[in-house]
Every structure is written in C-alpha cells, then in structure tokens.
C-alpha cells in the first residue's frame, strides 16, 4: 500500500477541480459541485488502482458531477438570469461562462476537460466516450467559437 493520503489530492488538485466545475456550473453552484466531486472521489479512493492517473481521475469525476449539478439547476435559467448591468462591469469570468454555456455540450466538455482540467486529448476522449480525433476537433472548434463570442462582447 503506497497510496497517497487523500489530503494531498485535495491540496494538489483542488484548484484545478474548482476551475473545471466553476466553468460548467458558475459561481453560485461551484462550491457544491466541488465538494460533490471530492466526496465521490473520497468514497471511491480505496478502490482506485495503484499508479492510476490521479488528476485525470479527479477531473473526470469533477466534470461528471458538474454536469449533474447543471442538469439539476437547468442551464437555461442560469444563463438567462444574468442581469444586464453585470455586462457593464466587464466581468470576464461571467463573459467566459456565458460563452461556454453557449457552446454545444460536447465542445464545452472537451474545452473544459482539456484547457481547464489539463487532460490530454486521449483522456478527454476516454472520459466522454468519443475518439481522440473527435475530442481534439471539438476542443479546437469550441475554443474558436469561444474567442469569437468573447470578441463580439469586447465591441
């Protein structure tokens, strides 16, 4: 038994997991999604195989839990209820979330897992059950679309 104390996983990957869930669910549900993710990981931890890729495992769980939270709270409401005055404050976090929310599901998942979760495309592919090539393409399409959405906002 040479598995690390779980506390170290929280210390080393807590911030990455937070950014993944926050990009998907937004600030008001991010704390819940984060603790849902780590709670699920804690429960499963003793069964994780030795030498497993811990960050990939955590990010995958986090993404799944964030999607669960999103389904519960219904994304449409979250995005529709963004007050107009927030736009005037030039809140880049909010702009990014609105843009992410506007992406098709697969593009958003690939972008979040790769760019925020740091997963290489073959792990993104495994997490989503698609081919590596499809994951790579969805991610680059998603980023291109994000940038154009954000630039429109800059105008």
């Amino acid at each position: 038994m040479t598995r690390e104390p779980f506390e170290r996983l929280v210390r080393e990957h807590g911030a990455t997991v937070y950014r993944v869930v926050r990009a998907v669910v937004g600030p008001s549900d991010a704390d819940d999604a984060w603790s849902d993710a780590f709670l699920a990981a804690l429960e499963a931890y003793p069964r994780l195989e030795e030498g497993a890729n811990v960050r990939g495992w955590l990010v995958t769980i986090a993404h799944r839990k964030a999607i669960d939270v999103l389904r519960r709270s219904s994304r449409a409401t979250v995005v529709a209820e963004v007050p107009e005055r927030a736009r005037a404050h030039r809140d880049p976090d909010l702009d990014l979330r609105r843009a992410l929310a506007a992406l098709p599901d697969r593009q958003r998942s690939c972008v979040v897992l790769h760019h925020l979760g740091g997963l290489p495309f073959d792990e993104v592919a495994a997490a989503l059950g698609v081919s590596s090539a499809a994951a790579r393409k969805a991610s680059s399409d998603g980023v291109r679309r994000l940038r154009s959405l954000l630039e429109v906002d800059d105008g």
């Binding site: 038994m1 598995r3 690390e4 104390p5 779980f6 506390e7 170290r8 929280v10 807590g14 911030a15 937070y18 950014r19 926050r22 990009a23 991010a30 704390d31 984060w34 603790s35 780590f38 709670l39 804690l42 429960e43 931890y45 003793p46 880049p92 976090d93 702009d95 990014l96 843009a99 760019h115 925020l116 994000l146 940038r147 954000l150 630039e151 800059d154």
Partner: protein, 197 residues
C-alpha cells in the same frame, strides 16, 4: 487576446476544505482527520480517528512523512479538518503551553501496540509534576532489563504531550532524549515545576 480561461478564478481553498470535511465526516468516509496548531513548542500536527486523538507530531510544518505514515497504518482517507478538531486543538495547545494538566478527550492508542503499548499505558500513571527514570518504567511494566527499549518506546510515543513521555528522565537526573527536542522537554517539565534544582 489573453488566454480567456484565466478569467476563471480559483476557489477559496479553506472554505472548500471545511465544507468537504463536514460532509465527509457526516458520511463516515474519513479514516483520519488532521490539522496543525502553533504552540510554544513549535508547530504540531494533530491526527484523530473516529475513536479519538491518535497522533501528536512535532515538526507539524513538514507534515508529509507523518501523513504518509498515518495513511499507511490507518487508511488513505486522510482529510484536513480544522474546525472539527478545534476542541482537541485547544486542549493540546493548553497542555503544550503549560496552562492545563491533563487531556480529557478520547484517545485512540492503535499506534502503540505490544511492548510499546505497555510503556505508553505506564506513562499515563506518572502524576503531573513528577518524573520517573527509564528504569522505573521498565520495572513498572515487569521488564526490568528493558531500559533501552523503554527509551525507544518513549521516543516513539505516538501521543507526546498528551501521554507524558516527557516525565521520564535519566537516572542521573539529566533529561535524556525527546522527540520534540530536549528544549521542549525542559519547557514541559518546567511548566509542571518538575525540574530538579
């Protein structure tokens, strides 16, 4: 345009960890809860199982080796729980700072088994403000020849400060060894008024 993902902030690590600890403890998913405290003897790492306080470790500011040992012996579900261990922390702090005489919380002696367990149980019988020699403790557990082994067991006491291995000194009156350093031992005995001279 800068990396758009820089806009996503990191969370409040402490508040998140706090909430996780509450939920995990409630769900019965934690083998060991840990936190550190700062005392006049230095930073201490405290660790508790559901049964009670299981370890007090000196050099708590370098916890990695201790956490690995705990994960190895007691289970890998080790989690920080600052607030949940507040009460324990206050008690240990009072002992370390010489403001309290005994620890009244629950203890888990899992880490002191066999001969070492016998030594640790004998240490609990040494009254506040008094000292015993390593030979006295060896005789008390019925192994009068095991003076050196008693010394080792004292040094490896998993619950220093709480279980008073600092009250065991050498028969010539010199302090002998201590996991937290001889200066810490001197401070603890000084606070108890147990120093000769």
């Amino acid at each position: 345009m800068a990396d758009p993902f820089d806009a996503i902030p990191a969370g409040d690590a402490e508040a998140l960890a706090e909430r996780l600890a509450r939920r995990a403890v409630d769900a019965g998913l934690v083998d060991v809860r840990v936190r550190t405290i700062d005392t006049r003897l230095g930073t201490l790492l405290l660790a508790a199982t559901p049964r009670g306080l299981v370890t007090v470790a000196f050099h708590g500011d370098e916890p990695d080796a201790t956490l690995e040992r705990l994960a190895d012996r007691l289970g890998t579900r080790v989690l920080r729980d600052e607030r949940g261990l507040d009460g324990v922390a206050r008690e240990v702090e009072a002992l370390a700072d010489g403001r309290a005489r005994t620890f009244d919380g629950a203890l888990d002696l899992t880490l002191a088994t066999g001969f070492r367990g016998a030594v640790v149980r004998a240490l609990r019988d040494i009254p506040y403000g008094e000292t015993r020699s390593y030979g006295d403790v060896a005789r008390a557990i019925g192994s009068p020849g095991a003076v050196r082994a008693v010394g080792t067991a004292c040094r490896l006491n998993p619950l220093p400060i709480v279980i008073p291995c600092h009250r065991v000194v050498r028969s010539d009156g010199s302090l002998g060894q201590y996991a937290g350093g001889v200066e810490a031992k001197r401070m603890l005995l000084g606070a108890e008024g147990a120093l000769a001279g």
